[in-house]
Every structure is written in C-alpha cells, then in structure tokens.
C-alpha cells in the first residue's frame, strides 16, 4: 500500500469508505511529508497541524456515524489569499502580517460543508502578482523537479504541495494564469473555471474582473470533484453566475469521439521552447487517436493580450489595494504623526517591488489624460479578444494550447526584468480576459526532466468539455503519475 499522502482525493475517499484508512492517518502522512520535504521546498507558509488533526478526527467520527459527504476527511492546502476563519491570511505580504481571517470565503465554506480538512496555507507571489512565487515576502518556493528552478506562480506553493505529495489537493487562484502555469511547471493538474463559476467572496481581490478560484490536483477527476463542491451562484458575490451547476464527474469519458479540438494558428508559430512544442504536438496526436478531430482556428489578437492584460489588471489592482493603508488591519509603519504619512510609509514598508510597480502602473493608466489611451483602449481590445474566442468556439468544442512558452526556469533568472516575465503569460492571460475556462494537464517532460503542461481551453461555462478532454488524455497517458525524485517509480493506483 502506498503512503496515503501520495493518493488522489478520489482514491483516498474510496479507501476511507472501505474502512482501509482514516482521515487522521492521511493527515498524519501529509504532516510527515511536509516535515520531510518542506524545509527545502517551502510550499507552506503555515501548517495547521493540531487543528487539521482535530478536523480529521471529527471527520472520522462522522464517517463512522454514516456520514459520506463528498470530501469528508480530505486534506486540502489553501493558497494564502483565501480567507479561512481563524487562520492567518497574509497574501504573502508584509502588509497583512498578523492578520487573522474573521470569516470563511464562500469557496472555503462550501468545501468545509463538503467535509474537507484545511491543512495549511501555501506560499504565493505577493497579492498573486507574479509568475514565479519569488515575489513572496516570506521566501521563495522551490520546484520539486529541480530545486534551483521556480515553481511558477502565483499559486506556486499550492502547485508544489500537490506535486511533492505534501497535500492531497490544493486551491489556487488564477487572474492571468496563476493556477495553470504553476501546475504546468510542477507537473500537476490546474483548473481555472469560467469567470463567475466560483464565488470570489473572501478571495482577497487583485483584479476583480479577472480573478477566479480553482483546484490544483493530482488528476482531472479530482479537479472535477473540487469544482463540484465550490461552484455555483453566491449572493455574496454579485459577479457569480446564476447558472445551473452540471454533474462534472459525469462528463469524464475515456474517448474523444465526436469532439472537435481547435489549434490556434498563432500559438504554434515559433517562440516556443522546442521541447514544449514537441510535447504539445505529441499530445495533439494522442487526442486524435482518442477520436477527436482537429481544426485550425485563429486568435489574431494573441500578442496584444499581454499589454491588454497588464493595463486592466494593474488598473484594478491599484484600486483594490488602496484599502491597505495601515488603519484597520495588518501592518502599520511606526512613527507617523499625520494620516497621509501613515498611509505612505505603511505602504512603502508593507508592499514589495512588484506590487508597488503594478499600483503605480495602474494609477497611471487610470489617471486623467491617459485613461483613453490606455485603459479604455485596453477594454476595447479585450472585447475583440473575447469575440475572437467566440468565433473560434463556433468551429470547435475546446482549444488545445501551450500553457507557457517555456518550462520552469532558474530562480532569479527573470526577476530583474518584469517585462520579460510578463511575456511568458501570452497563452494564459487571453483566457482570463475572455472570461472563459482553461485546464492544465501534464503532457510530458523536457530533456532536462522538467514538466510540460497541455492547456485545454473551453468557452464560458464549458468546464464539462475541458474536463472531458483532460480526463480522456490523462487516461491514455502516464505523465500525471510521475513524481519528482522518483521518475522510475511512478505512483501506483
């Protein structure tokens, strides 16, 4: 029998249902794994050892009493940007040091109601701004496949916790790729739901028109399981969609007969790392063997999506982060004798470089005289990008794409050049701008043994389609079973 920390959520649930193991033993296995590998990897900011063991024992007692809720006793790691009642929520920022969440985010409340156990808080880029998790105020997180490499970001801690078996599953958030890109860099599954599918209530806002919460898991079935528990309208988030939530597990099939997959012409024209491109072409071939037909589609505004994204996200961030002023919560700079210097010093000392850059950039693009040239123009290009996807989805059920043009790179390699870092988001930001959904699944390795991700993009509320493609693909491949440090001893079912 394999160590319980290596299991998927659905395997763990099956074993608990059979009485073969308990939630307490699974949480202990997770805590042991964290103790072994996290001193090097640093995927967690805080670990709730005692609280999660208590929750696990309660789950075990409930199960003995006949309770069989969908996630009863499943240990889940939570990105440090989501409020969990009674736990710290720092957003990996110094400005929220000491802040303890007084309430549950809706996604957390729903997972709690489904029986999940919250084992700890994962590291991230400060306020979810970044692609490497190097922007955390509390230290870097390391990629388990090559510890001198970044895990991606901003949900890097969650990706590492799942990939290194320090969690059964985790939650991330994705504003411009922050679930999908770290999932690709670390070799796990990451799902960004359609905008409005999961309530953002209790998610500390970065860019409100783009942010979504989603699962990071060891396989696609788990992604469907967690999405099922979180999805659906919430009166506390007026941007959540009052749409019916389908049975996502029922969409998981092992073939792709009758499915048409779009290949964007603009995505496969150079600029891709050669290993990434080869793995992508191989994945396309697997999908064809499973019965899918492929068709070329065009997304002509792909290149301009980066500028569009960074204008809109920075603008929204500059407004959202105005609330951090040292008055009501978190860090306050010492020695200020008037309110204005209190705000300015608190923000100067509390925020890191990338957050400051985006606040300045956002303030600039919204300021009088520049609004039309930047923000309004970006909103118009955003409409064109959405329309381009709309036209593409008239020809196909889902789109196959890279997640990132490169595999994980070395820590420090791009941190001095923000623009170079932003250019790596070219295949993920269009999905957020359009409000549609995207799934990253492992599709092989580079020659240097770094994971590569396949992105499956679906229309708004099209999660069933992308989960189906992702599940059929991983069912036909073994990439998602590989684990760092043990490539020859793949995880067994």
């Amino acid at each position: 029998m394999n160590a319980l920390n290596t299991l998927t959520a659905h395997d763990l649930l099956a074993r608990m249902q059979q009485g073969e193991c308990t939630s307490e033993s699974a949480v202990r296995a997770i805590l042991d794994a964290i103790g072994r590998v996290d001193p090097v990897l640093h995927s967690y900011l805080t670990v709730n050892a005692e609280a999660s063991l208590t929750q696990a024992r309660e789950a075990d007692a409930a199960r003995r009493g006949g309770d069989d809720r969908p996630l009863l006793g499943v240990p889940i790691a939570v990105k440090d940007v989501l409020n969990v009642r009674g736990q710290p929520c720092t957003c990996a920022s110094k400005i929220l040091k000491g802040y303890v969440a007084p309430y549950d985010a809706t996604a957390i409340a729903r997972l709690r109601a489904a029986g999940a156990v919250f084992v700890g808080r994962t590291n991230m880029d400060e306020f979810a701004m970044g692609s490497t998790t190097e922007n955390s105020a509390y230290g870097v997180t390391r990629n388990p496949w090559a510890t001198d490499h970044v895990p991606g970001g901003s949900s890097g801690g969650s990706a590492v916790a799942v990939a290194a078996d320090e969690a059964i599953a985790a939650l991330g958030t994705d504003t411009g790729g922050s679930i999908r890109q770290p999932a690709a860099f670390c070799g796990c599954v990451g799902l960004k739901p359609s905008y409005g599918r999961v309530s953002r209530y209790g998610l500390t806002a970065y860019a409100s028109s783009l942010d979504q919460i989603g699962p990071m898991t060891k396989d696609v079935r788990d992604a469907a399981l967690l999405l099922q528990a979180m999805a659906g309208y919430d009166p506390l988030d007026s941007s959540s969609l009052p749409a019916p939530v389908p049975d996502f597990a029922a969409a998981l099939k092992t073939d792709l007969k009758g499915v048409t997959l779009g290949l964007p012409r603009e995505y496969f024209v150079g600029g891709l790392d050669p290993d990434v491109e080869r793995r992508l072409q191989e994945a396309v071939a697997v999908c064809r063997q499973l019965g899918a037909t492929t068709v070329e589609v065009s997304l002509p505004r792909t290149r301009q999506a980066i500028a569009t994204y960074y204008i809109i996200a920075a603008a929204e961030a500059s407004a959202n982060l105005a609330r951090f002023d040292g008055v009501r919560y978190g860090f306050r700079a010492a020695g200020s004798e008037d309110p204005l210097s209190l705000y300015k010093r608190t923000r100067a000392q509390g925020f890191g470089d990338e957050v400051k850059r985006r606040i300045i950039l956002g303030t600039y693009v919204l300021s009088s005289g520049y609004y039309d040239a930047f923000y309004l123009r970006a909103q118009k290009v955003r409409a064109l990008i959405r329309n381009d996807f709309g036209a593409a989805f008239e020809k196909c059920d889902a789109i196959l794409a890279p997640v990132s043009p490169t595999p994980a790179y070395r820590i420090g390699e791009k941190s001095a050049d923000p623009l170079q870092m932003y250019l790596g988001d070219i295949f993920t930001v269009p999905v957020n701008l359009a409000g549609i959904c995207g799934l990253s699944v492992p599709c092989g390795f580079t020659a240097a043994n770094l994971p590569v991700g396949l992105q499956i993009v679906g229309p708004a509320l099209g999660e069933e389609a992308i989960l189906r493609v992702g599940h059929a693909y991983e069912n036909a491949t073994e990439w998602h079973r590989r684990r760092p440090g043990s490539e020859s001893s793949a995880r067994q079912e």
Binding site: Y99, V100, P102, Y103, Y195, G196, S209, L210, P235, S238, S239, L241, R301, R303, Q304, I306, T308, Y310, G326, V327, R328, Y329, G330, F331, R332, S336, E337, D338, P339, L340, S341, L342, Y343, K344, R347, A348, D353, K356, R357, I359, I360, L361, T363, Y364, S367, Y370, D372, A373, F374, R377, Q379, K380, V381, R382, A383, R386, P418, L419, A434, G435
Partner: protein, 101 residues
C-alpha cells in the same frame, strides 16, 4: 493618427504617480521603477496597431448587467472580531494619528 498618441509617448513621472497612489519611494526605488515602467509603458504601444474605433469597451466578462438585492439588515462582523485585527486600538475604537488640529 489618433489623438491619444502624444499621451502614450509622454514620459511617466514615477514619483508623481506614486504620490497619487500614496506610496513613498526611496531614491533607488524611484530610479529602478522609472526604467522598468518606461519599458512596460512603451510596450503598451502594441495596442495602437489595432483599430478599435467601432468597438464597445468590455468592463467585465459576463453578461450580468445590474444585480439587486433586498435592502435588509444582516449581521456583520462583531466589534471584537474587527478590533482584533486593528494595529492600534483604544476604548473599543481604532486609533489613528490626529487628523484635525
């Protein structure tokens, strides 16, 4: 040429904008950010290649327009919970520096 070209070509004064955003910058930060943000703003020129004259701007991603709810009183966080996160407090209030003389 659209009238906004001269604006985009304009130089961003990082110190001026940082002050609008209530951010104090050190000299070395101001210098570093100036170079990095100049590069990023110059990159935004990419958007000028696209004709957007007939396009309606998109403020958010869904079809939802307005969302209303009944105006009813609901429980909020209680005072102790709120004060527990305040950096300084006195007499059940959040303490701040003097605002008026």
């Amino acid at each position: 040429m659209p009238d906004d070209r001269k604006h985009a070509a304009a130089h961003m004064d990082v110190r001026y904008v940082a002050n609008l955003a209530r951010l104090e910058l050190t000299d070395s930060e101001a210098q570093r950010f100036q170079g990095q943000l100049d590069q990023i703003v110059a990159y935004f020129d990419e958007l000028r290649e696209i004709d957007v004259d007939a396009v309606q701007p998109m403020a958010h991603a869904t079809v939802i327009q307005n969302v209303f709810r009944e105006d009813v009183v609901r429980p909020g966080l209680d005072r102790d919970q709120v004060l527990a996160n305040a950096p300084e407090q006195a007499s059940d209030l959040i303490r701040v520096p003097k605002i008026v003389e």
